[in-house]
């Protein structure tokens, strides 16, 4: 598919899903309430409850889709995904530490920044372990270790809390949700996600060149060190900020690039922005599904994403295994 029609189609899909997300609720409220027109109660519900939810779903999806596509492009391995390799889990750990130590209460930006630092640590560790070619086995094994450790420490931190309700939050940090998030959460996460996405989008040319191999890429003037650093910072900022406010939503970075790769003619640069838009659409759709299937039960996003993503993951592993 040519880039322009693809971009237009994905943008239209995201906008339609955004409108659907803003329209779904316990009362029919016209979309113009978003701009402050109409019944003040409706304006308040639209701006304070529905808008943060829809906007965060789109931003979190974009961050995860983009990060997944960038990591897969760099490691040239379709299994590299922030959730599976422990980046999201580590970001969740950073966020939980920021919240439970009171750091986030003293300085609100500490929440996404701590998540960023921990996510950055996990990306750095994975890049170090997997090496430039990103062997599948190392990637998955390192991912299992990092995810398990991060998950265990999240549980530990929440079990130590003096608030008896904190323990119930383990599910949120492992599965992710955008329910009942406020504009404050949106304001905390949006700038860092935008920064991370901007950094990741600059890696397009380098990733395209890398498809020819490292030597050829260097011959084309791509600095691999710089590419790696941009990838690390971009992924840490985008995934860290997204996870800090919405928990670890898995499989987005795996499913979306996989679906869009045939439409992008396997060009990593094109796949980057396409996966960003596709990720936004995917998480918006998942959040709509969560609300339509069990409106009163606060089903987590990770449940829907895992039902879609896990079979695909197994399929990819099967294919990778045959290829070895």
């Amino acid at each position: 598919m040519r880039p322009l029609p693809l971009a237009a189609a994905l943008c239209a899909l995201v906008l339609a899903l955004l409108a659907a997300s803003l329209s779904l609720g316990y009362a029919p409220i016209p979309l113009r309430a978003l701009l402050g027109a109409g019944d003040p109660l409706h304006v308040m519900v639209m701006q304070q409850i529905r808008l943060p939810r829809a906007a965060l779903a789109a931003l979190v999806g974009a961050a995860l889709g983009l990060s997944g596509a960038a990591m897969q492009g760099y490691l040239r391995n379709p299994l590299a995904e922030p959730g599976l390799i422990g980046v999201s889990g580590s970001a969740a750990l950073g966020a939980v530490i920021a919240l439970q130590t009171g750091l986030a209460a003293a300085f609100s930006l500490a929440l996404p920044l701590m998540a960023l630092v921990f996510a950055g640590g996990a990306v750095g560790l994975i890049l170090l372990l997997a090496g430039p070619r990103g062997g599948s086995l190392t990637l998955i094994l390192a991912g299992i270790a990092v995810s398990a450790l991060a998950g265990a420490l999240v549980s530990l931190a929440l079990n130590l809390s003096s608030n008896p309700y904190a323990t119930f939050e383990i599910v949120f940090w492992m599965m992710g949700s955008v329910a009942d998030r406020s504009l404050e959460h949106l304001a905390l996460a949006a700038p860092l996600i935008a920064l991370g996405a901007a950094l990741l989008l600059t890696t397009g040319r380098g990733l395209d060149a890398l498809t020819l191999g490292e030597d050829a890429a260097q011959a084309l003037g791509v600095s691999l060190g710089r590419l790696r650093l941009t990838l690390l910072l971009g992924t840490a900022a985008a995934v860290g900020a997204a996870t800090a406010v919405a928990g670890a939503v898995g499989f987005v970075g795996l499913v979306v690039p996989h679906l869009l790769r045939p439409l992008c003619k396997a060009r990593p640069a094109r796949l980057l922005w396409a996966s960003g838009l596709g990720g936004a659409a995917m998480v918006l759709a998942a959040d709509l599904a969560v609300r339509l299937v069990l409106p009163d039960r606060d089903l987590k996003l990770g449940v829907v994403m895992a039902i879609l993503g896990a079979p695909l993951f197994l399929h990819l592993i099967y294919r990778t295994r045959r290829g070895v």
Partner: protein
């Protein structure tokens, strides 16, 4: 000795024997495993009769009498620890520490369980029963009389009952059933669960709560450390309704005690100030 002199003597003798029997029946060492029986036993029992209280008894969020019971040693509700205290009577809630209770019964200890308080009238019955169990029926009768007198001064039926949403962590809300509902009713309020006809256990999502426009939204005081379940109660949309009231400690709502009427009085004052 004249026969008429024998009557008071016999009466005195009878009283002494009865008192002795009464003292014998009254358990000297009482151990409680539930935060509600802790407080009832502390209120009704003789000084020193209650030798150990449950782990929650010293937490002011759970026990209205936490400060008063601070000197009573705490148990961890394990059978071993309780047995080593050599209790004459063990008090437990019907749903607390089931394994411990079964084991203690098996070991031959006397265990009395109390159902959770479901209404204000349950409180009277529980006070009376505790008085009998602890051998202090007079103390219990006095507490019941005070309770009735105070409830009579607090209960009034206003012309319009405001719709109140007592919003709890996990999008839960107080229903018209149970002790919470009874407290709100006694204070002249009606619950949003009744107004919206919510099924028992049905949650109330934030958006639905705000759109229902209750007359008052009540939330408990925030905890020291954060959790999303409780952070929901600080959501800006709740503040934006202008109907939000932060109410006193949750301990006043948990157990049915004479002090439950403090909560009724607090709610009544809140309703009157808002109307």
């Amino acid at each position: 000795m004249r026969r008429s002199d024998l009557i008071p003597l016999a009466a005195a003798l009878f009283c002494a024997v009865a008192a002795a029997a009464d003292v014998e029946a009254a358990p000297a060492r009482v151990v409680s495993l539930n935060v509600c029986t802790d407080q009832l036993a502390w209120l009704i029992g003789a000084p020193g009769q209650l030798v150990s209280v449950s782990p929650l008894a010293h937490d002011p969020r759970s026990a209205a009498l936490a400060a008063e019971m601070a000197d009573v040693p705490r148990n961890d509700a394990s059978a071993e620890q309780v047995a080593l205290m050599q209790p004459d009577l063990v008090l437990a809630g019907s749903y607390t520490a089931r394994a411990t209770v079964q084991m203690l019964i098996g070991l031959g200890y006397r265990v009395e369980t109390f159902q959770p308080t479901r209404s204000l009238s349950d409180i009277r019955e529980n006070i009376t029963r505790m008085g009998v169990l602890l051998g202090r029926p007079a103390r219990a009768a006095a507490l019941v009389a005070d309770f009735d007198a105070r409830l009579a001064t607090l209960s009034d039926a206003p012309e319009t009952r405001p719709v109140v949403a007592y919003y709890l962590p996990f999008n839960e809300t107080a229903s018209g059933e149970g002790l919470t509902g009874d407290i709100l009713h006694a204070a002249g309020m009606t619950t949003i669960a009744e107004a919206l006809d919510l099924a028992p256990g049905e949650t109330l999502p934030l958006e639905r709560l705000v759109l229902a426009q209750p007359d008052m939204i009540l939330v408990g005081a925030p905890y020291d450390s954060p959790a999303q379940a409780t952070a929901l109660l600080q959501h800006p949309a709740l503040r934006a309704t202008g109907k939000l009231h932060e109410i006193g400690p949750s301990a006043g709502w948990i157990c049915g005690l004479p002090s439950t009427l403090d909560t009724v009085a607090e709610m009544r004052a809140l309703r009157r100030s808002a109307q």
